[in-house]
Symmetry: C2
Subunit: 354 residues, 2 copies
Amino acid sequence: MARRIRRSTGPLDHRSSAILRAVIDEYVVSATPVGSLALVERYGLGVSSATVRNILAELELSGLLTHPHTSAGRIPTDEGYRWYVETIMESALMPEVEQLMIRHQFGQVEYASEHWFRLAASTIATITRSAGLATPAKPAAAHVRRVDLVAINDRLASLVLVLREGALKQVLVNIESGTSQDTLTSVAARLNALVTGRTATDIARAVRRIPDDLPEADLIRRVGDRIVRTLREYDVDAVEDIFSDGLLNVMGAPEFAQSDKLRRVFSALENRAYLGELVGTVAATGDVSVFIGHENAPADMREVALVLAPYGQPGRAVGVVGVLGPTRMAYPQAIGTVRFVSGLMNELIDHLYA
Amino acid sequence: MARRIRRSTGPLDHRSSAILRAVIDEYVVSATPVGSLALVERYGLGVSSATVRNILAELELSGLLTHPHTSAGRIPTDEGYRWYVETIMESALMPEVEQLMIRHQFGQVEYASEHWFRLAASTIATITRSAGLATPAKPAAAHVRRVDLVAINDRLASLVLVLREGALKQVLVNIESGTSQDTLTSVAARLNALVTGRTATDIARAVRRIPDDLPEADLIRRVGDRIVRTLREYDVDAVEDIFSDGLLNVMGAPEFAQSDKLRRVFSALENRAYLGELVGTVAATGDVSVFIGHENAPADMREVALVLAPYGQPGRAVGVVGVLGPTRMAYPQAIGTVRFVSGLMNELIDHLYA
DNA sequence: CGTTAGCACTCTGGCATGGAGAGTGCTAAC
DNA sequence: GTTAGCACTCTCCATGCCAGAGTGCTAACG
């Protein structure tokens, strides 16, 4: 026997890392198991295929690579990808050209803040050729900036809440037949004094203290309660909106050629519960997070990887942007892109709250 | 030869229709070509399989059925489905039980009008086990009901438009550093006088007539222009939002087992241009419309059928609800469901504008 | 004249077979 | 420690074959 096979758990030596990296790089583009010969031919390793085979066997023992069957090349395991991601995590950046392109695109929609996160998702999708994900920036607790009441018909009015975080919320409220718009306007004025800058809890307290002899006290109280309820719903709502774009990109991947695999990916995407949970944990961090294959709890997501990053201002409004693709994903690009876009979103939000 | 084969272009005789109907009913549930034997066994036609074969041959000549290959059963052509749909169009209704169930569901979200169309899509998806589609009710030309200006920071304000049709629109506008909220409020009041109940064209005219000596004339004019621009964009915007739910249902259909077919369906769904166009034509009609296979212009939609119906008030706000599924669809159920849901949405909207 | 039994014919789908190609793991030599 | 050489294994694809399903035609029937 030429070399004792190490079941190394420690860090990989230089040559092993180079080969593991090469296997992953190759597999990511070819989507077929990569053999020792292909590696020496295409990656100028300076050793023979036999040597490479020895190292591949070691890497397999360490759990970083596998074999689909005896006489096939190697493919990375989720652990292999994990190692890879750790090694490139810090250095992954976007090419300047693309950065400029994206900045330009965002410049086009300048002030339609509600569309930023959609644009983020579709930009990410285009660049990474995977599915782009994004959630709108959502505050920990909604603060009201302004209230409006507009009569819709004889018995209904539209209650509009403008939140400090830039979001709008509208609900209908019943009014007594014959209430004029003037009355509504003055009620809205009273309410504005009561609610501006406040959160649900504060407003609930204020509403309880409305004196009975105030004109229209009843209506004010009723609308006030409605505001509280609406805010509470808004606060509790698990990230309601996870916008995704470029699903077609993912559908093209060869690993999803069988439609049942594809189906699983989609049902994973409709599994808002898990995504919402992830968004929550990611929002609490500062940088890009990567979730690879079985690192995702739901069985349906075992074949996909997620690259997510938060944006916004911690404690005020926080959202998430990211990529969903096969575990065989161009991680450096994905991480670079997500990092850049989240940074860009940060700039935009900062500008908003300057 | 026993019976001269008719290449009838006229209406089908009673027995032929019964058999055609049987083929379609059977194919819709089995998804496999249906043979003469299966028909006589399961549909008590009172004739032998040989006779049925003769009639099947006639129906094929008339273009209502085909053959995937020589020794297979028959499957309906798009024309066959078309014939079928015409014969059941008027009579397709939902079972009362389901009607009640749906009414109940809508009762739950009573006043969250912005969510009605989403609920419509998901309800339709659940019942028909296909993809449910819905667009929000959108007016021919937006009328402003109210304008609001809220300072966001030193240089930005949020312009909120409440439209007569119940929609909200928000954009950011630049303001001069140091403009107070009071100024903004008074500007908003001026603008309200100017724009209430008007459409983009009217407002553009009014803005041009603002006298220079009005306080803050500049700001008023600038915001006015912005309102006009926003309304115009809103008007022009091809139906921006086509909400869909239950795509997973469609993915399960055996005709989409190969993922490239599935892919085509999805890219069709992202083909907002065509869907928007359809929505436009459907909105102009009064009842359910059905588009089967090649009746759809885009090649990607040749394997799906759409059942669409408008809702809302013509000339005011009109939206569309519908189903997208394989051409092999349970048309009676789909048509009944879509008809009922659109009727229900009509009731809701009428109530809103009472 | 329409209906029916009978039968030859055709096509698919599943399954086994076999050979080419790719890539491994091992051994022995360097 | 590295490498050439080689037997071995497994997939993939093309081929051939068979059973099953269903047709279309023909000839007989009422």
